[in-house]
C-alpha cells in the first residue's frame, strides 16, 4: 500500500517537500512507517526521535495500523502559543 505522509514546519523545510510517499505491505504499522522514513529519508531521520505521528488528525502510537488512504502526518515538537 502506498502511504502519503504530510510534513510541516522544520520537517517540510528539511525535506523540501510538503509530503513524502512510501510503499509498505498491507497491515504495516506506524512503527514500520517510522523505520521506512529513517531508512529512506535522511533529511527527516534526524528529526524522527522527537516527532509524533498523526493519522486522521489524531496522534497515534507506533502500534497503529493505518487504513489505506488514511491521512498521515509527521508532527515535530509543537511550538504554538
Amino acid at each position: 500500500m502506498r502511504f502519503k505522509i504530510r510534513l510541516f514546519a522544520m520537517l517540510r523545510e528539511a525535506q523540501g517537500a510538503e509530503h513524502v510517499a512510501l510503499d509498505l505491505e498491507e497491515g504495516a504499522t506506524i512503527g514500520a512507517v517510522r523505520r521506512a522514513i529513517a531508512e529512506g529519508f535522511p533529511a527527516l531521520a534526524v528529526h524522527l526521535p522527537s516527532a509524533r505521528f498523526s493519522a486522521s488528525c489524531r496522534f497515534v502510537g507506533d502500534d497503529h495500523v493505518p487504513a489505506e488512504g488514511e491521512e498521515l502526518a509527521l508532527i515535530p515538537p509543537v511550538s504554538g502559543g
Binding site: A9, S54, R58, A73, P77, V78, S79, G80, G81
Partner: protein
C-alpha cells in the same frame, strides 16, 4: 468559539463572547508576541499550522476541559501567519460560575494548546531565523 485563523485576534471582542448570566468568573489569557527570546532581538514570528488537525485538536481539548470543569463558555483561538511584536498569537477565555474553575480551566486550555496543538513558530530575529523547538515531541 474554537478557531485557527490567519485573521488578527481582538481579545476584547472575544471576551464579549464569554458573557453568560450564570458566569460569575471570567478568566482570559492572551499570548502576545514579545520582542526578545533567549537573548535574541525578535523581529517577528511566523506561525504555521496543520489546520485540519489543529481544529480537531482544539475540539478535543475543549471536550476534555468541559469534562473536568463545569464551565459556561469557552473561547480558544490561535493565529497563523506572520505576527508583529505586540500582536496576539493565542487567546483562551473561560467563563464559569466561580473563579476557581475559570482559572483552572483557562490554565488547562493554554497549557494543553502549548503541548498538543499542531502549530509551529519560526522566530525571525536580528541575524537569522529559527524554528522554535517547543514542547513534548
Amino acid at each position: 468559539m474554537l478557531l485557527v485563523t490567519p485573521e488578527a485576534i481582538d481579545p476584547a471582542a472575544l471576551e464579549r463572547l464569554l458573557s453568560h448570566p450564570a458566569a460569575g468568573g471570567v478568566v482570559t489569557f492572551s499570548g502576545v508576541v514579545r520582542d526578545h527570546n533567549e537573548g535574541r532581538e525578535v523581529l517577528f514570528l511566523e506561525y504555521e499550522a496543520y489546520p485540519e488537525m489543529a481544529t480537531s485538536q482544539l475540539q478535543d481539548i475543549h471536550r476534555r476541559l468541559a469534562e473536568r470543569w463545569r464551565v459556561e463558555r469557552v473561547v480558544m483561538v490561535h493565529r497563523t501567519g506572520r505576527l508583529a511584536i505586540g500582536e496576539v498569537a493565542v487567546f483562551v477565555g473561560v467563563a464559569a460560575a466561580h473563579r476557581a474553575e475559570a482559572f483552572d480551566a483557562c490554565r488547562f486550555g493554554i497549557d494543553t494548546i502549548k503541548r498538543e496543538l499542531p502549530i509551529w513558530k519560526k522566530e525571525h530575529f536580528v541575524g537569522g531565523e529559527v524554528w522554535v523547538e517547543g514542547c513534548c515531541g
